[in-house]
């Protein structure tokens, strides 16, 4: 029973209580200046965006099959069975591949720090694993941000659309996007009008690289047999040539390389001596 967040843009009044609660939860500074920033960053892990008279919320989507966790070379990012995608700063080497890979441009970096970390919302993993609600959902005065079981929230979202079809754009964002996300959106208008990325693939992104990575054992085994075989054939030919006392490369243009086969590109003795003569 993975957990999720349902954000209903039609209920959001832009009070930014979620932002304040999130900052408090992480111990990050929060004042009017930071509240005015409409973009998530290393010091602001969720942000309310204004799109005309509508609001939208940005936070990590905590994808069902997260690209960030699949690309992290050291496994600093992990998808938990509870739903949140959690981050271990002690492992992170700062390659920033998670940032490049995330289809929602969520992970932020502490660019000016000398010992930087990646920062992102982890859907309040610590709170949720103790049975509490996420800080943002708890703070939301209108119920625009709701935290609960993913399947139940999907059912609820469908119910809201069915009850007031005129008020909602007839789709739930996050159901299919990149194979499903833990943050679900409802909106009155098509999602691109509230700043959501609608051209993301419908398939889970980790598939794109796994399709190639899973070939690795095959490439290595076939490659060793093939290269070893070619080496054996070509060297066998040289052996035969040497035993028969025949010149190795009959019919070559005069003056071409006459190196005896030796490994590692070591220059052959005769060639060296020849070189000493003017």
């Amino acid at each position: 029973m993975p957990r999720a967040i349902l954000y209903d843009s039609t209920l959001c009044i832009g009070c930014k209580a979620c932002e304040g609660a999130c900052a408090e939860r992480w111990g990050l500074p929060y004042d009017d200046k930071i509240a005015a920033e409409e973009r998530i960053s290393a010091h602001k892990l969720t942000a309310i965006e204004t799109h005309g008279d509508r609001f939208s919320r940005r936070l990590c989507m905590n994808c069902v099959q997260p690209a960030c966790a699949s690309v992290c070379p050291v496994g600093a990012l992990q998808k938990t069975t509870l739903g949140p995608v959690v981050y271990d700063a002690e492992k992170c080497m700062g390659c920033r591949y998670c940032m490049q890979a995330c289809p929602f441009q969520v992970p932020s970096y502490e660019w000016s720090s000398r010992l930087p970390r990646m920062r992102k919302c982890d859907m309040c993993y610590a709170r949720q694993s103790q049975g509490k609600l996420t800080a943002c959902a708890e703070a939301c005065p209108t119920g625009a941000t709701k935290n609960g079981d993913r399947d139940e929230l999907i059912a609820e979202a469908a119910r809201r659309i069915a009850q007031k079809p005129g008020q909602y754009y007839n789709r739930i964002y996050g159901l299919k996007e990149v194979g499903g996300t833990s943050v679900l959106y409802l909106s009155a208008v098509p999602f691109e009008q509230i700043g959501l990325r609608t051209h993301v693939p419908q398939e889970p992104l980790p598939e794109t690289t796994w399709r190639v990575l899973e070939l690795l054992p095959d490439v290595v085994s076939t490659g060793s047999v093939l290269l070893g075989g070619i080496w054996w054939i070509t060297n066998r030919r040289e052996e035969v040539a040497r035993q028969e006392g025949a010149p190795k490369h009959a019919g070559r243009p005069p003056g071409a390389s006459k190196n005896t086969p030796r490994l590692e590109g070591a220059p052959s003795q005769p060639a060296r001596e020849e070189g000493k003569h003017p």
């Binding site: 970096y109 000016s112 000398r114 930087p116 290269l227 080496w231 070509t234 390389s257 070189g275």
Partner: protein, 391 residues
């Protein structure tokens, strides 16, 4: 960088200026972090330190594995004279890639983490292991040169005994590594501009790396022949250029098929910067391909060199397009490297040239080469060697 000419002073001054600016950029990187030394941002997390220092660096080092495969596995021995320089280039190239990574990683002190903390689902994990293992292999492949210099016969024998598996391992690791740099970008289908995003990126990266490895071999033979006053192994390089022309044709053909199957050609009708960058990249690949099919181009040192340079630049354009410019539109941002990023990159390249020169002057890198040149210079000049006359 020729010691006997007066213009050397000029080049030395340039070299010193580059290193000084690189030093200052290093200071900025260490004390003010990535934010104080780069123009990277949350929306554009990778810049030229990845796209050039790592992606081009690894590609330009591809001559090492290509020539090891040609000379030792396919046993086409005539290319032996250019084998050692190619191995040295590859070894230095990989060391410099690691230096580039130390600049780029947010936590360079954790460079070793992927070796103990595994995530086999990550392409970057594969890249990390390949860099580590292949740098070791290259070191071992270069060791015989050191042993020869100091007349150490025992370790020489020892290394000869393991050399066959070592060579095969090296070729395999390179195959994985060159292609995995392309696989890195498979995860960004909606970000990378469709002229470059392709499910066969790993294959394209692999084939183009082979091509640029050959081009780099021609490039550095030309330079070292000037720096060390040796005769240019023209017939040998010309026959290598023949191989290069074929590899480039294969690359272009795969590229055309790929764009056709993905129905991406119509994108070229759009007047966008991506279109022009793509055209530039293609021109830099297509022109040398056509030229290298002509014997008079291959047998003319200047023209041959110009072709090799074009191939190298076409390759760099491709990697920069995939690694930076092709990602700008999809990331909704612009990226122009800060001066300090460029300074570090130039310093790394300049140090590469300088170290190569130092080593080549001290160790027997070109010896086999010049010996043969002296053996029969006249015939060699007259006739291009046949690349496939063996057996």
């Amino acid at each position: 960088m020729n010691l006997r000419l007066p213009k050397i002073t000029f080049w030395r001054a340039v070299f010193a200026a580059i290193l000084l600016s690189g030093l200052y950029a290093t200071y900025l990187r260490v004390f003010y972090g990535l934010g104080g030394s780069t123009n990277l941002s949350d929306r554009f997390p990778w810049g030229i330190w990845i796209a050039f220092d790592v992606m081009c660096g690894v590609g330009l080092a591809a001559g090492g594995f290509t020539l090891v495969a040609i000379v030792h596995i396919f046993a086409i021995e005539r290319y032996k004279p250019v084998l050692r320089p190619a191995i040295l280039t590859a070894f230095l190239g990989y060391l410099l890639v690691v230096v580039g990574l130390l600049y780029d990683l947010g936590r360079p002190d954790r460079l070793w983490h992927p070796l103990v903390m595994w995530n086999p689902h990550s392409v970057m994990f594969e890249v990390a292991w390949c860099v580590t293992l292949y740098t070791t292999v290259l070191f071992l492949e270069f060791l015989p040169v050191v042993f020869e210099k100091f007349g150490l016969h025992k370790p020489m024998e020892w290394i000869h005994r393991i050399s066959v598996p070592l060579m095969i391992l090296g070729v395999l690791l390179s195959t994985l590594h060159q292609s995995s740099l392309g696989s890195l970008f498979l995860i960004v289908p909606e970000k990378l501009y469709p002229l470059w995003y392709s499910p066969i990126l790993p294959l394209l990266f692999y084939v183009s790396a082979i091509a640029v490895g050959l081009a780099m071999t021609i490039f550095e033979s030309w330079h070292s022949s000037r720096a060390f006053g040796r005769a240019l192994e023209l017939p040998l390089l010309a026959s290598l250029a023949r191989v290069l022309a074929v590899v480039l044709s294969v690359y272009l053909w795969i590229r055309i098929l790929d764009l056709t199957h993905r129905q991406a050609w119509s994108l070229l009708l759009l007047n966008r910067s991506e279109t022009w960058l793509f055209a530039l990249e293609m021109a830099l690949t297509l022109v040398p391909t056509v030229l290298l099919y002509q014997a008079r181009v291959r047998m003319d040192p200047g023209k041959l060199y110009a072709c090799a340079v074009m191939v190298v630049f076409g390759f760099i354009a491709n990697r920069l397009n995939v690694g930076t410019t092709g990602l700008e539109a999809g990331s909704g941002t612009h990226y122009i490297p800060r001066w300090s990023e460029v300074a570090v990159t130039l310093s790394i390249v300049a140090s590469g040239f300088a170290i190569f020169r130092l080593i080549a002057g001290y160790f027997p890198i070109f010896e086999a080469h010049s010996a043969e040149g002296a053996a029969a210079p006249r015939e060699l000049e007259a006739k291009e060697e046949d690349p496939v006359s063996v057996g």
